[in-house]
Symmetry: C2
Subunit: 193 residues, 2 copies
């Protein structure tokens, strides 16, 4: 991490996910680290901030999340599109070198249980709220955000700066079949519109 | 509705929400119709398709959803940004003329319990799966998508066509404080990237 990585006030952490980006999920347990891509992550509450995220039973990352009770959600950038696609299509079960071969560099912050993926625009450290029925029936996890950070080149003072930043900082929005869109331009509301 | 509104195969309905757009939620019960904006809607499963959506207890729409067991989710366009902002900031409780004054035109499809908002790019008719604990503790609703449609000028053959369509068809992605972004350009994955 570097000097551009700044804490985000918890009551504004929902803004990191509010526009619906595809995210990376990292987890650590028993000496194993993993990272997966997930399109189905969503804000759930403002303060304390909570999120929902869908983690399929076949995902190795899910087992780490269930065993440790923690996960980190991060917002990857257009510059990380290939990395995001690779961690979303490869499994640690088939490829023990998945993280290295995908270009993932992990960074552990003192006092936090889950490593973060370097180069993202934002990070949310999350403690799982145990909800066994949701997890079993729907693969749906609820977690509380206990800390958040953003790169001040992409998000500052509670707002995304996509229109000012280099295009490589834009968030990714996955559809299917390898089809991603970048987030686009600000929309001006016309009160007469 | 018009000749451009085409059914979407249920197993592809998740693609209408996968890129994280802000949505409109419509509901009907006891002769009352309402529409609200929601940024916290997310796909939950592929087939049968399910979604999650957060509906605050103060929302009049939530009471209609709880009473009827149905809701419709629709994807508004950049051309509907002012409409989306108005239905997201006004309440039917304060403004009985909310829908008309917001520019909402509703359309009822034969055999479907919830009216749809005309002019959107996609629509998902959803039956609530009763999960009282999620609804009470988290304002979180789970619903199964029983039918879906899209305007073929914006979504066709299972894919969004934002790069070909008029810019007014792009989806809206809300941050906070009246700040919306439009969805942007396709991202090409560089296998060497």
């Amino acid at each position: 991490m570097n000097e551009h990585v700044q804490p985000v006030a918890l009551e504004k952490a929902y803004r990191l996910l509010n526009h619906g980006p595809t995210v990376l999920v990292s987890a650590r347990h028993g000496g194993v680290d993993n990272v997966m891509a997930a399109a189905w992550a969503c804000a759930l509450d403002f303060d304390p901030p909570k999120v929902t995220i869908v983690l399929d039973k076949i995902a190795r990352t899910r087992a780490l999340v269930e065993a440790s009770g923690w996960l980190a959600i991060q917002v990857p950038t257009v510059g990380q599109a290939a990395l995001t696609h690779r961690v979303g299509t490869q499994s640690l079960l088939d490829r023990p070198d998945k993280l290295a071969s995908s270009g993932v560099v992990l960074h552990t912050l003192e006092g936090h249980p889950v490593p973060l993926v370097e180069g993202c625009s934002a990070w949310l450290m999350c403690r799982v709220i145990d909800e066994p029925h949701n997890q079993q029936a729907y693969d749906l996890f609820i977690a509380e955000v206990v800390a958040a950070w953003a790169d001040d080149r992409a998000f500052r003072d509670g707002h995304w700066l996509f229109e000012q930043a280099s295009p490589d900082w834009r968030s990714l929005h996955y559809v299917a079949g390898g089809q991603f869109y970048a987030i686009g331009e600000p929309v001006v509301i016309d009160p007469q519109g």
